[in-house]
Symmetry: C2
């Protein structure tokens, strides 16, 4: 009996030694995550679905991971960065539109009249987005977005917007890809805007960026071809629009999803309702000092119903203040 | 001088010897293609864009190849296979729809009345497609398409439809992928129908299948989630719809495109209008004996304007009768 027990213990020790390097590797790959419940849940999930012979094993082709962008991969305060781009474009384009001096909501943008701008509501917003995002070719829009991203600075950090990304999430993207996952963005942001920086900043190529889309039209002008963006939404990739776009573009149900707001609820529900082991994560903005703290009452990135769902269904909720050692990459260089 | 010449000749010979294995490999990889102009153009293109240091070199990430499906990757006669599926579904569903016994175009389908069916035109067709392809979840539609594909036989060959694929094109897909290309379907066929067989038959995963789409809706029925297909087209992925869907889903311009009909013209134009070396190919159905012969006057897969464009712009036009040793895989086993 003693012999058998010893043998069993040895087996256990050998198994442990075989597993230890994997755990250590995972720790190396998520260095900005404290060893809290979120990091543990991520590592446990990835090891379960990637270990051959595991009952939870998932073939590489089906390892689809989807991420919201605003508030999940980069900050979204004091307002969505794409909206700041749209406001900046109104100012850049104003000389070509003298009528904007008297026409709302453009007048309010040009005069920095926040109150009137806010009062213009969704209708005013759509006018601004339409005037700055449509009526031009995809090639021209890309140039406009590139120009802005290359020079614009975040109003609080004064850093380029592409540096307002979350270091722990960059590490998570890398960790998943190193484990055979295909990483996608599924965001309410407009698809061509995100494609301008997603490959360089997140390592996510254009064909893995899904977002809100405008109706577009192929144009043939005497053999010169272009794709015109029309002022009509094709898909609002928010809320129930997210499972719809996932099925339309990917055609597979993800096994891993990360969001931060009620706009991600249906994506998280759709992901976790599939068969087999699934992961749903929520970035909870709890860090007023290093980033922002907001949830149930926020106008931007409201997290209310999805927070209740997370608690009821035991989804992973990341406490940004407590679980992230660093927030943005530039803070890594702080003394 | 003689010495220099000899040295130069030796250099040429060495270079030739280095290139020969590559050419030989290409020949091995496209065994169903005769050594005609199409095969030569394909191999020359692939070698140019994949040879590091070549002025035409294209990085792996940008090696996007797009293929039409009906008439390009599989046959499309005597009518589009998806239409045969729709007609079969009308018959299967008829017991649940007693009203179809008197309602056109369903009555015509049930009575095999081809004349009345043809006379019902596009409006009749959309009724049939709507009744068989929409009002159900994506999961149910997938089951229906799988059931049909598993049992239905082609009326002429009596082979399963998934065997009506073109052996030379299967080899071309493999050859491109072996050279770092990402292969996509961009077809007028409905996206979820093609996804049922594209991975197994073509090696093309669901997320690389682009097609005609219906508007879909996320449904939450007491925590049971599904995606409902509504009887409204979201995108008709034909003609000018093809560059639109390519930009929307892939977000990059392909460098290689293959089609067979006027519905592929804009995809070929959009592909070849990009900078750098590009390839446009057309399958010309010239083989009445082994497949079908049709082009300018055909109702299905009409090839007229695209054939003119191909001649004007020196695109590759595959003479099926003269350039393909085999058409369908099952013919490989013929004595």
């Amino acid at each position: 009996m003693l012999g058998l027990n010893t043998q069993t213990s040895w087996r256990g020790l050998v198994a442990l030694l075989l597993v230890l390097p994997m755990l250590a590797q995972a720790a190396d790959e998520l260095p900005s995550w404290n060893d809290g419940p979120s990091r543990q849940a991520i590592v446990e999930f990835v090891q379960a679905v990637t270990s051959e012979g595991s009952k939870d094993y998932v073939p590489v082709a089906e390892r689809i991971a989807v991420f919201d962008n605003d508030g999940t991969l980069w900050s979204e305060q004091p307002m969505y960065f794409q909206l700041l781009f749209a406001l900046s474009e109104v100012k850049r384009l104003a000389p070509q539109h003298p009528e904007w001096k008297t026409e709302q909501p453009f007048k309010a943008v040009l005069e920095n009249d926040q109150k009137t701008l806010a009062a213009s509501g969704m209708e005013g917003l759509m006018k601004i987005v339409g005037a700055t995002h449509t009526g031009i070719s995809t090639a021209t829009f890309k140039e406009n977005a590139e120009r802005w991203l290359a020079s614009a600075k975040h109003p609080k950090s004064t850093k380029p917007f592409t540096e307002m990304v979350f270091q722990p999430m960059l590490e998570l993207l890398d960790y998943l890809r190193a484990n055979g996952f295909k990483t996608y963005i599924v965001s309410g942001g407009e698809v061509e805007f995100m494609r301008v920086f997603a490959e360089e900043v997140y390592g996510i190529p254009p064909e893995q960026v899904i977002g809100t889309t405008f109706v577009t039209k192929f144009q043939d002008q005497d053999g010169k071809y272009s794709i015109l963006r029309e002022p009509k939404l094709a898909l609002n990739d928010d809320g129930p629009g997210k499972p719809v776009s996932i099925q339309s573009v990917i055609g597979r149900r993800p096994i891993f999803a990360f969001g931060n707001s009620d706009g991600d609820l249906q994506m998280l529900q759709w992901t976790t309702a599939g068969e087999g082991k699934r992961f749903a994560g929520i970035v909870h903005h709890t860090d007023a000092k290093r980033e922002w703290a907001y949830d149930r009452d926020s106008k931007i990135g409201r997290l209310d119903k999805a927070l209740d769902a997370a608690k009821a269904q035991d989804w992973t909720v990341v406490d940004m203040a407590g679980e992230w050692k660093n927030i943005h990459p530039f803070e890594l260089n702080q003394p």
